[in-house]
C-alpha cells in the first residue's frame, strides 16, 4: 500500500504544480497581450483619393482607469474626426461629428458600421483592399496608441451591427 500511496501523492502534487504553472503562464500572457489600451481587429473601408472613409475596431480598455478617446490621426487624410452614424427617421441615416468617446475601465467600445467610427476625411491616397495603414488614437490617460489597420470591404462575425438604431 505504501508505494501506491506515494504514487498518488506524487500525482496530486504534479497535477497541482502543473495547474499552478499554467495559471502563472496565463497571467503572464494576460500581462503581455491584454494590458493597457488596445484596438482589436482594426480595419478601414476602401476609398479613393479625395474622398472619405472610416476606421473601425474594438477599443479594449484593460486598465483600471476610465479613459476618453479625444482624437485620432492618419497621415493619409487631410482631416480626422470622431463621428457617429445616426438614424433620423425610420430609414433616414445621417452622420455627425462628436467630440470624444468615453471608455470605462476594463471595458470594450466598438467602433462599428452604422455606429461610431473614426472618419478619415479627404484622403491623400487610394486605400485599396489588402492595404495596411497606420492610424493613431489619442486617449486622455493612455496617450497615443498606434494601430495597424487592414483595408477591407467588410468585417467578419460580430463586428457588424444588424440591429436598427
Amino acid at each position: 500500500m505504501k508505494p501506491l500511496l506515494a504514487v498518488i501523492i506524487l500525482l496530486i502534487t504534479f497535477t497541482a504544480c502543473k495547474k499552478e504553472v499554467e495559471e502563472v503562464k496565463q497571467n503572464e500572457e494576460k500581462k503581455v497581450d491584454h494590458s493597457g489600451m488596445m484596438v482589436h481587429k482594426p480595419w478601414i473601408r476602401p476609398a479613393s483619393t479625395g474622398t472619405n472613409t472610416a476606421f473601425f475596431g474594438t477599443i479594449m480598455n484593460h486598465t483600471d482607469v476610465n479613459d476618453t478617446l479625444l482624437s485620432a490621426s492618419f497621415e493619409g487624410a487631410e482631416v480626422v474626426e470622431i463621428h457617429e452614424t445616426y438614424m433620423k427617421e425610420e430609414d433616414m441615416m445621417g452622420m455627425r461629428r462628436i467630440e470624444f468617446i468615453a471608455i470605462e475601465e476594463n471595458s470594450a467600445f466598438k467602433l462599428k458600421p452604422r455606429s461610431f467610427h473614426i472618419m478619415l476625411i479627404k484622403l491623400k491616397e487610394d486605400l485599396a483592399i489588402g492595404d495596411k495603414k497606420s492610424v493613431t488614437l489619442n486617449f486622455k490617460h493612455s496617450g497615443e496608441i498606434k494601430v495597424e489597420a487592414e483595408v477591407k470591404d467588410m468585417p467578419g462575425g460580430d463586428e457588424m451591427d444588424h440591429s436598427h438604431h
Binding site: E78, A128, I129
Partner: protein, 193 residues
Amino acid sequence: MKNLVFVFLLAFFGCGNNLPIEGDFGTGQFDLLTQNGKMIEFPKLIEGKISLVGYIFTNCPDICPLTTNNMKMVQNRLKEENIEGVEFVSISFDSEVDRPGVLKKYAELRDLDESSWTLLTGEKEDIKKLIKEVSVVAVVGDSTVTPDNEKIYYYVHTDRISLVDKKGNIRKSYIGSNANIEEMVKDVKSLIN
C-alpha cells in the same frame, strides 16, 4: 363577393410571386451618365431586366458602402448559382462630387463586377426628380471644413435598395445598409420564376 376578393388578391400579388407593386420611377426618362461617361436613359436602362437599385454618395464612409457591399454580395450569390440577367444600379444623389470618374474609381476600389453593375450620376435637378419618384430623400446635413477651407458635406439620406421587376415596378424596398442577403436573393429569384 368571394370572386371579387380572389380577383383583388390575384391583381395584388400577380405573376406567381407574392411581392406587391410599391411604385415605379415615373413615366419620364432621365438622361444620366454612367461610370464610364456614357449618356443613357433611365429607367430605360433596366427595362426588361430584374434590377436592384441602390442610392448612394461616394463621400459616405459608412451607410452607402454597406449598401453597395450588400448588393455586391447578392451579385456574387447569383453568379455562384449561375443566375443571369439581373442588373445592379447605384444612383448617386451627390451630382456635384460624384462625376463619372469618381464613380468609376468607387467601383474599381470595391472590385464591383461592372458587366452587370452601372453607377449613375446626372444633373442635380434630374437626380432630385428621379429619387423623388421613389420617395428617396437626400438632404445636406453636417459638414467638415478642411485646412484649405474646403467644405465637405454629408447627406442625411434614405437608406435603401429597391428591387425592380422587368416592367420597371418596384416590388420591394430594403434598408440598404442592413439588408438581408438571403431575403434579397430569394426575392430576386421569385421574380425570375
